[in-house]
Symmetry: C2
C-alpha cells in the first residue's frame, strides 16, 4: 500500500450490532444506498459501514468543508434518503411516489415527492454538504414524521394523488 | 477588434419587425431571458436578437452537437421558458406558480410547475441541447396548449392548488 494515497478513514460510529440496523426504514436506506452503488464499492461492506457516513457526530460535521458544490457521494446519500421515503410512502398508500431532487447551488435545493399530481412532500434542502443525522434512530424518527405528513396529505387529497 | 477572438455569429432568423415580437408570451420570454442575463450581455441587444437562438431552423438544429451535458446558456433558455409559463399561469390563476427544472443527465430531465401542492405541469425533457422552436409563433402556440392544460388542472383542483 502506498502511504501517499492511503486515506485516513474516520472511525466508524455505527456498530455492527447496532439494534437500529433492524429498523425497517434503516433497512430500506441500505437497499437504496446499495442500489446507487454502480461500481460495486459496497459489495464487501457490511450494512453498518454502508450507513456509517450518514451518522454525523459533532466532530465529523466540523470536518466537512462547506465550499462549492457537494460531491456526488454526498448527493447519492441525499437521493437514497428521498428514494427510501418515496418507497415507504408507496407501500403505505399503494400509489406510485416519485422523488425529485433539485440542487440549485452550493448545497441548496429542494426535495419533492410527487404522488400523481400531488406534491406529497416538499422540503427545502440546505447545507447538503453536511447531510446526515445524529444517529440512525434520529434518521428514522425524522423520516417517520415526514412520512406521516405526506401520508395524511395523500389521504386527504386522494383524487389528485390518483391523477 | 481582435480577429482571433471574433466569433462567427449565426445569421439572425428573427427579424426586428417580426409581428410575433408583440405576442404577450413572447414579450414575457424577453423579460425572463433578460432577467437571467447576470452579466448584462444582452443590455445592448434588441429583443429580436435576444430571442433569436430560440428559433431553430433545420440547419441550426443540425449544427448543434448532442454530446455531454447541455451548456449553461442552453439551460438558461429552458429555465426562461418555464419561468415564463409559470409567470403566465400565475396571472391566469392568481396563485403562486413555481417552476422546477431537473436535468438528470445528458440533456434529459423533467420540468414541473407547482401551484400549492398541485403539480400543474409535468413535462419530460429530452434533447435539451436542441431546445428551441420552429418559430416564435410555434413557441407561443405550444406554450398556450401547456397553459390551457395547467389552468384546467388548477381550476379543477383549486383546494390542493391553494394548500
Amino acid at each position: 500500500m502506498n502511504m501517499f494515497t492511503l486515506e485516513q478513514t474516520a472511525p466508524e460510529v455505527v456498530a455492527e450490532d447496532d439494534p437500529a440496523l433492524q429498523l425497517p426504514f434503516v433497512k430500506q436506506m441500505v437497499v437504496q444506498l446499495r442500489a446507487m452503488d454502480g461500481y460495486g464499492a459496497y459489495d464487501t461492506w457490511k450494512d453498518a459501514r454502508v450507513l456509517d457516513p450518514l451518522v454525523l457526530t459533532k466532530e465529523r460535521r466540523k470536518a466537512i468543508p462547506v465550499v462549492g458544490d457537494p460531491d456526488e457521494t454526498t448527493l447519492s446519500r441525499v437521493k437514497a434518503y428521498y428514494n427510501a421515503l418515496a418507497q415507504t410512502l408507496e407501500k403505505q398508500t399503494g400509489l406510485l411516489a416519485v422523488p425529485v431532487i433539485n440542487i440549485t447551488h452550493e448545497g441548496f435545493g429542494r426535495a419533492l415527492i410527487l404522488v400523481g399530481k400531488l406534491v406529497a412532500l416538499d422540503k427545502t434542502l440546505r447545507d447538503v454538504h453536511r447531510f446526515g443525522f445524529d444517529s440512525l434512530e434520529k434518521m428514522t424518527e425524522d423520516a417517520e414524521k415526514l412520512l406521516a405528513k405526506a401520508k395524511l396529505l395523500v389521504d386527504e387529497n386522494r383524487t389528485v394523488a390518483e391523477l
